[in-house]
Amino acid sequence: MLLRRLITVSVLTAFIVLTSYTITVLNVLGELPPRSLRPLAFWFLNTSFTPWLNYFSAMAPETVTAILWDYRGLDTLFETAVFYFAIIASIALFRGIEEKHGGGYVGLSKIVRVVSRVLIPVNIVVAASIAIHGTITPGGGFQAGSAMAVAPLILIIVFSRFFLKEKGLSKNLLIALRGAGLVGVGVASILALALGLLSGGYAFIFQNQPKEAAPIGLPPDVLGFPAGTLLIFNLFEFIAVFAGFTIIFILLSIPEDVAREALHGKH
């Protein structure tokens, strides 16, 4: 036992010392932090919002959003699909576990409820602003969806786990919303392609702005607000992530005795 612990500690110490030495002294990852930009980063920063280079630009002041939904859009589509399938798999694991409202009040006190009623609209406004401003300030669909999911979490804790269902936000509706978000992202990714096919021109999937060989694209701004496909992606991702997190919170709020009863039967 002692020998085993000694070996574990030695291996961990060797890992820490060797990795630290190779990274900080031998500089195997290059100079850290680098003084100048890498060529790829230079390209992204130089083209993310340059109206005079319209065949290269994503027309978004926020370079990270431009990379996520324009330069590496397919990556993000598959990423959101992975999240979707993880939620579907979790629902499948918890299938058959449902709780009926036993009657009576199960929420927290009036003070907490009043404070929550004040805070939840603020939460929703902040989340919506993060989603809509995703193309111009740090933020975007995922961050906004995560922020928005705090509202149902508070509702579940403060007003009880039946409250969302009573207000019409059932698990099935949320699954439909999650699916609609993913479908919306998928449709937005082929929007330029569909426009191209309809107009008889060329276009690509995940095309945001016109390209030299495919001069079809979404309007770069709406009333002076940077848009393109990025705004559509952010809005659908916002809905999808919000619905996904809410499903998770609803499933996690099922009491243990109810779940055990469903799994093992009443006895």
Partner: protein, 137 residues
């Protein structure tokens, strides 16, 4: 010069502490028997790797700015100014993707762990291995 050395020294301490974090989380994932502890270690491992990626994308200049163009619409000099000051945006975008995928994996693992506990009454890997058909041997 002294300030640069102090800067590099501080940066090295951050890098080393992240490597220590990685080592501790690897220890948790590989050695700990409790599934919840493994999941916690896995989240620490993912977060340490993500922080490290962000750190690699940082830049040793002063002042340093986020990769966001603040002048809309920009002029060519604004874009040049951004490239002179901004950090690397690519690690931030990759980390955002990694966070979402990590979250998806963690969600599924947590649900698996909960269901395992409900079925076997334990989260210890050795004890689960000794249970066959829901009964202890």
């Amino acid at each position: 010069m002294a300030s640069i050395n102090l800067y590099m020294f501080t940066f090295s301490i951050v890098v080393i502490s992240l490597i220590v974090n990685l080592a501790i989380s690897l220890y948790g994932v590989l050695v700990k028997l409790n599934i919840v502890k493994k999941i916690i270690s896995l989240t620490i491992l993912g977060d340490s790797a993500n922080t490290f990626a962000i750190l690699v994308g940082y830049r040793a200049t002063y002042p340093v700015s986020p990769p966001v163009q603040v002048n809309v619409p920009p002029s060519p000099s604004d874009v040049l100014h951004l490239t002179e000051l901004s950090v690397d945006p690519l690690p931030q975008a990759l980390v955002l993707t990694a966070i979402v995928i990590g979250l998806a994996i963690n969600v599924f693992l947590i649900f698996l762990a909960i269901q395992t506990y409900r079925l076997y009454g334990t989260l210890n890997m050795r004890e689960i291995a000794g249970i066959k058909g829901g009964q202890h041997e």
